[in-house]
Symmetry: C2
Subunit: 182 residues, 2 copies
């Protein structure tokens, strides 16, 4: 059911998807949605929460994968780019459907999202402290690094068989240039 909703929301947007679309994709009756979820919005919240936690885990894991600032940042941008391509439909819902959440649920998710920024800022600061990165605007640069990864969900289509490894590799290489890695 969750999978069906992810597919539908990613394809048509939350507003463009009916609970019937979701149910039909899951091979169930329209009423079956409401056995597990109180509302269409609750379904989106469940997806958004799961997706954000998975993406955050991915980013943190990459952060912890190395002690060297350059290798660390490279790993983070590679992994985060890769996650957005390997989980393209989920990632799209995660990144584009925040507006459809209730006020309370949105606040929850927004606070989760701040952590992505904090982790990336940490990685950039590590490199500056080690004398390896040359960055003036730490917050802005961290934002740009995340943008590079996140924007993949706008156009990347797994069905078109593009080489996601090569794209992740390029993004990671560009990231090191962006921080003035020396």
């Amino acid at each position: 059911m969750l999978d069906a909703a992810v597919d539908a929301f990613a394809e048509r947007g939350f507003g463009g998807t009916s609970t019937r679309d979701v149910a039909v994709r899951a091979g169930r009756s329209p009423a079956a949605v409401y056995v597990h979820y109180d509302s269409k919005e609750a379904l989106l919240y469940a997806i958004s929460l799961e997706g954000h936690m998975a993406a955050l885990d991915c980013l943190k894991l990459a952060y912890a994968s190395s002690e060297d600032p350059a290798a660390r940042l490279h790993a983070m941008v590679f992994a985060f780019s890769d996650w957005h391509m390997e989980n393209a439909r989920l990632a799209r819902v995660v990144q584009y459907e925040l507006h459809a959440l209730s006020k309370v649920h949105r606040a929850d998710i927004v606070s989760l999202r701040r952590r992505f920024h904090r982790v990336m800022v940490g990685a950039v600061r590590d490199g500056i402290r080690a004398g390896q990165f040359q960055v003036d605007d730490v917050n802005g640069t961290a934002r740009a690094l995340l943008s590079l990864c996140i924007d993949l969900v706008r156009w990347f289509d797994p069905a078109r068989g593009r080489n996601s490894r090569a794209i992740a590799q390029l993004n990671a290489d560009l990231a090191l240039r962006m921080v003035g890695d020396v």
Copy 2:
């Protein structure tokens, strides 16, 4: 009426917006929408077409603003970033609601979109030819440069009064690093 639709689509998405929402925002009756547009989708197409042409003009103008590859690329990324912030709501509809267009209209817009890529590829090649840029993957790098600008529409909110000039400046500076400007 177009303005009202841009606001509504940007805020709730195409699927999440009713023609009544649009009409009410424009201070008209629900039927008034159909005097000028055949359908809700035709309204989106008009917005999308106008938005894409304006954005493309902006990018081409910046391309023509300088002969020096570095200054040219800097101007392009600055202008394109700035456009996405100064026209945040329109830009959001332009970038996120392609999926809601009819097959024919979408094909129209997609062919327009290829031009953005071509212009950016041209700018990168100019710098390589002049010996100023060091880039292996021209297509991928051009894609990443556009990503940096486009992803602004996901989070930038004009109402929050952030310094859009500083953000455009940072993006432009990062762009020169990404192409290995020497």
